[in-house]
Every structure is written in C-alpha cells, then in structure tokens.
C-alpha cells in the first residue's frame, strides 16, 4: 500500500551516477512501494541536486532489515569519525 512515510533533509555532499559525480543537497528518506527490488515495500533513499530538478536523482531502495543494518553501521562510522580526533570539516 502507499504508506505516505517520507521525510526529507538538506545535506551537503556528492553522489555518483552514470553521469559521474554531481553535487547533492537534499535527501529524502521513506518507506513505500518498491520500484525495482522484488519486495512490496522498501526503505527508499533519494538524493537530489535542487538546482537540477529535472535531472535523474540518485536512488537506493533496501528491504527493512537492510535499512536497519545500514543505519547501525552508519552510526558506528559516525561515532568513530567524531571520536577520531580528526578535524570535522564541512563542505563549502
């Protein structure tokens, strides 16, 4: 079913697609009908460049367990990065 579960956030970074690397400044995170993965619903991660609204966006869809696994590993990496003693830089 359509879940209407979606939220978005501004980000600073880049994403790579068939076109090469491009800036992305917005991400949406949702859980809804899958487009390609052979399951009913997936965690959906969409990355956009708001300056190019008609460009293909970068999309990833994962089953729920994979979403949890990704989240856990992401938190581990972020914790490690923030405690690494290295300077935290923000992209311009």
């Amino acid at each position: 079913m359509c879940t209407n579960i979606a939220t978005k956030t501004k980000i600073t970074g880049s994403a790579k697609s068939g076109e090469g690397w491009n800036r992305v400044d917005e991400a949406t995170i949702g859980y809804d009908h899958a487009t390609h993965t052979w399951v009913e619903h997936t965690v959906r991660l969409d990355f956009w460049d708001s300056r190019r609204p008609d460009a293909d966006h970068i999309a990833v869809e994962l089953d729920l367990a994979s979403g949890r696994a990704l989240l856990q590993r992401l938190e581990e990496v972020l914790d490690a990065a923030e405690h690494s003693g290295r300077e935290v830089t923000t992209a311009p």
């Binding site: 079913m1 359509c2 879940t3 209407n4 979606a6 978005k8 949406t28 949702g30 809804d32 009908h33 899958a34 487009t35 052979w38 399951v39 009913e40 959906r44 969409d46 956009w48 609204p53 008609d54 460009a55 293909d56 966006h57 999309a59």
Partner: protein, 256 residues
Amino acid sequence: MTFWNSFDTAGSDGMTAAVIKIKGANGDEIHAYTARPEGRGPFPGIVLVHHMPGWDELYREFTRRFAQHGYNTICPDLHCRAGHGKPDDVSAKVRADGGVADAQVVDDLVAGAKWLRAQPTSTGKVGVIGTCSAGRHAMVAAAKTKDWSAVADLWGGGVVMEAKDLNPKRPVAPIDMTKDVSAPVLGLFGNDDQSPTPAQVDQHEAELKRHGKTYEFYRYDGAGHGFFYYNRPSFRAEQAADGWEKVFAFFAKHLS
C-alpha cells in the same frame, strides 16, 4: 460475456494514442495520456487515475487497453507540476513532498472528463477508475463532483483514515464523503492486503450500504495489494484476469 480476447479479427482495430495537454486544477497546463478507438463510435469515456508510483508505463498500457475495448480514455499526469523525467524520478519528488492534494487531483480528473465529453465521438458518459492511491482518489472524485456515471476503486488504501492521518492535502477521509458518492461503485480488493485491510473494506462496504449506494465489491483470496501489476511480485494472474473481467463488465453496464 467474456471481454478478454473478444474482438473480431476482421476489424481494423485502430486507435490514436498520444500525450496531450489540458487545463487542469487552477488553470495549470498538465499533460495527459490519451487513447481513442478509431471510428465514429460513439464511445463512452474513462478517466484513468494513476497511482503513486507514477504516471508510468503500466498506466499507459491500461489507457490503451480501455481504448482497445471501445472507450475514449484519458490519464491525466497528476505529477506534472513536479516536473518531468523518468516516471519514478518524478514520483519520488512527489512522494517527498507528501503526495498531491485531493482537491487538485479532483480538478485534474474533472478536466479529463471535460476533454472526453468534448470529443466528437463521445456518448457523454464518463467513468473513473484508479488503483491503490488512485482508487482512493476515484472515491474522492465520485463524492466531490457529479461528472461520473461509474467509479471503480481498485484496492484503494486510505478510504478509511484515522484522524491523525488527515492533513491539508488530505483533509477529509473519503469514507466520510460516502453520502455524496454520485455514481455506482465497483471495488476490487485482495483479502491479504494491509491497506485497505479486510476490516477497512468491511467498513467501506457498510458505509455504502448505509447510504443506499449502488455498489459491487469483489474480494479475492490469495491476493494482496496491487494484484493487477504484472511487473511486481504482487501480481496474481488468476485474480487479475477475473478482476479485469469485472472491470469491463461494470463499465459496460453503467457506461452504455
């Protein structure tokens, strides 16, 4: 009568199918995919409401399928205002923005009905059909305007809504508009569906009965949500084949 494979092989069976532009809600110019049988007709019309995954290939095929069966058909691009690109890119943007507003959808669909009635081959009768979120939109349209001679809701989740799920884009639950539904209703549902659940379908049916509405509900064992979608794991061949017969029988009854 069986509708599948019922054409005469001697016929030329042509159709004109193309994307056009119509004036939708707020006077916005939006795209619509259309398919019209060749010949003088006259032909009844169908407005096809596309689902949340987008104004996509499945819906283009459905549009042509209805034309194949003798209906002038239009499928407005409800996501047009989000821009253009591949259907899943456009729908991802719309999803991120919380979907499209019910009021806007209704006005876009009415614009489609107006285009159908303006066709020289039109009988003047128009039905509306949608699957999933579009089944819900079809029910909203059926309550909000009197443009329809038949409405088909295929597994529309969100006809029954809790108060916490209402928002400015979806301010009223469609079930609460049932008294204003102005056309016979066809409902197709899978009994394994989680939105709508069988209990929610029961509620929907009870409300239609309470208000004395003409309706036909068909509920399929072994099927969940989206069982017509042959490109997805939800596809259920036997149930979909029967479902299509129900759709064509319903429109033949109410749009002739």
